[in-house]
Amino acid sequence: MTHSISYWQTFSNVLSRDLKVAVRNKGDVLNPLVFFIIVITLFPLAIGSDSQILTRIAPGIIWVAALLSALLSLERLFKNDYADGSLEQMLLSPQPLFIMVLAKVLAHWILTGVPIILIAPLLAVLLHLEEMAYSALIITLLLGTPVLSLIGAIGVALTVGIKKGGVLLSLLVLPLYIPVLIFATGAIEAAALGMPYAGHLAIIAALLVGALTLTPFAIGAALRVSTN
């Protein structure tokens, strides 16, 4: 008779495995972060040090860079597992797929989202972000980057079987990223003007809750289709 293990144990097994694999593949962890830093540092150089212009466009730059760096790192989520057969083994596990999927996405966010959140305030200084807007920046990134990972995972799951799925992935995922982008930058701009931005945050939080509850099932279903 097979011994069942708890959902939590499955979740932590998958999470710790993914983190371990990523730590041993250092380039994978650093790439998205380095990309994020490079893009943001190039803007002041290209536009010039006119602080007014930079202040005006800072929220947009930071969020666009975060979004693109998330997009860059997405492929890693399932590609390697697909290539070496461990994805098949996960699909054949008696444990519920959405738990494993959620653990993998969380690992992805810890490796790509968290470093960006940590470094963003530092880079915001480069862009002369309004002082009042820092807390809004952090909160929108905290709420928004997990949404990017969750929604992006659906796209990767759908394209994992395709050899060159990169462009298709962007086409699938970017339109779904737009609401996060609009409300996040809206919140930061509102905060910079000293206006209330709780409404924007509420919408991003709603997106997060929606994504957290619904996407794992979509990702699981997409993975089953892709491995067919």
């Binding site: 097979t2 011994h3 098949e88 083994q89 491995t227």
Partner: protein, 210 residues
């Protein structure tokens, strides 16, 4: 009482506009050792993937305990051990980590991973990264699960690939032990087996040209 473990009902598989098999039906009973035979491209792997529920047949269905496997995946997967072409061994993890994870993933308990690796002759390689091991050794990491598994049905796609002669004989002995204790094995292999043909049930797939 009907004690069929797994039954294939009128399976049809079409790949690239070619019919691989049409209306294929068979039952898998406890104690059966089934070898799927056929030339390259005949659809052996496709058949095994359909039986494991990884692929959907064009038509027909697979039943575990008389219930379609798509309806009760969990119950089926608790009793299934599938090892495909790709062994599911991660190069970035050590032999021990790979085996421990794969066992946990399928809810199989194992208190002594080192002992489990010793049964597949990997003593001394517990902490070696799987990517540093030879093809046969990393295949053995995946196969080590066979010795620890309580799953009734084993579906193995080319289990002997890259395994040395002594290893093949050990595997064959394990197969006999598993089917004698009421399990069933469906596998493909191009290698000659020492298992007598009286023990083997064969399913032969032909290459269709139409």
């Amino acid at each position: 009482m009907n004690n069929t473990l797994l039954s294939a009902n009128a399976l049809t598989c079409i790949r690239e506009d070619r019919i691989l098999f049409d209306q294929l039906s068979f039952d898998v009973l406890p104690g059966e050792l089934i070898q799927v035979e056929g030339p390259n491209g005949a659809g052996k792997t496709s058949l095994l993937r359909i039986l494991a529920g990884l692929s959907r047949p064009y038509d027909g269905q697979v039943e575990f305990n008389q219930v379609s496997i798509e309806r009760e995946r969990d119950a089926y997967y608790e009793n299934l051990l599938y090892i495909g072409h790709l062994a599911g061994v991660k190069g970035e993890l050590t032999a021990q980590e790979n085996l421990a994870f794969n066992l946990q993933l399928h809810g199989e308990q194992c208190d002594d991973i080192e002992q489990a690796l010793a049964t597949v002759k990997l003593t001394g390689f517990e902490d070696a990264l799987a990517s540093h091991l030879s093809a046969g050794q990393s295949r053995r990491i995946a196969l080590a699960r066979l010795w620890q598994s309580d799953a009734k049905i084993w579906i193995l796609d080319e289990p002997f690939t890259a395994i040395d002669k002594a290893g093949v004989i050990e595997l064959e002995n394990l197969f006999i032990k598993h089917v004698d204790s009421g399990g069933a094995i469906i596998f493909t292999s191009h290698q000659d087996m020492t298992i007598g043909s009286d023990r083997l049930k064969r399913i032969t797939l032909d290459y269709h040209f139409d």
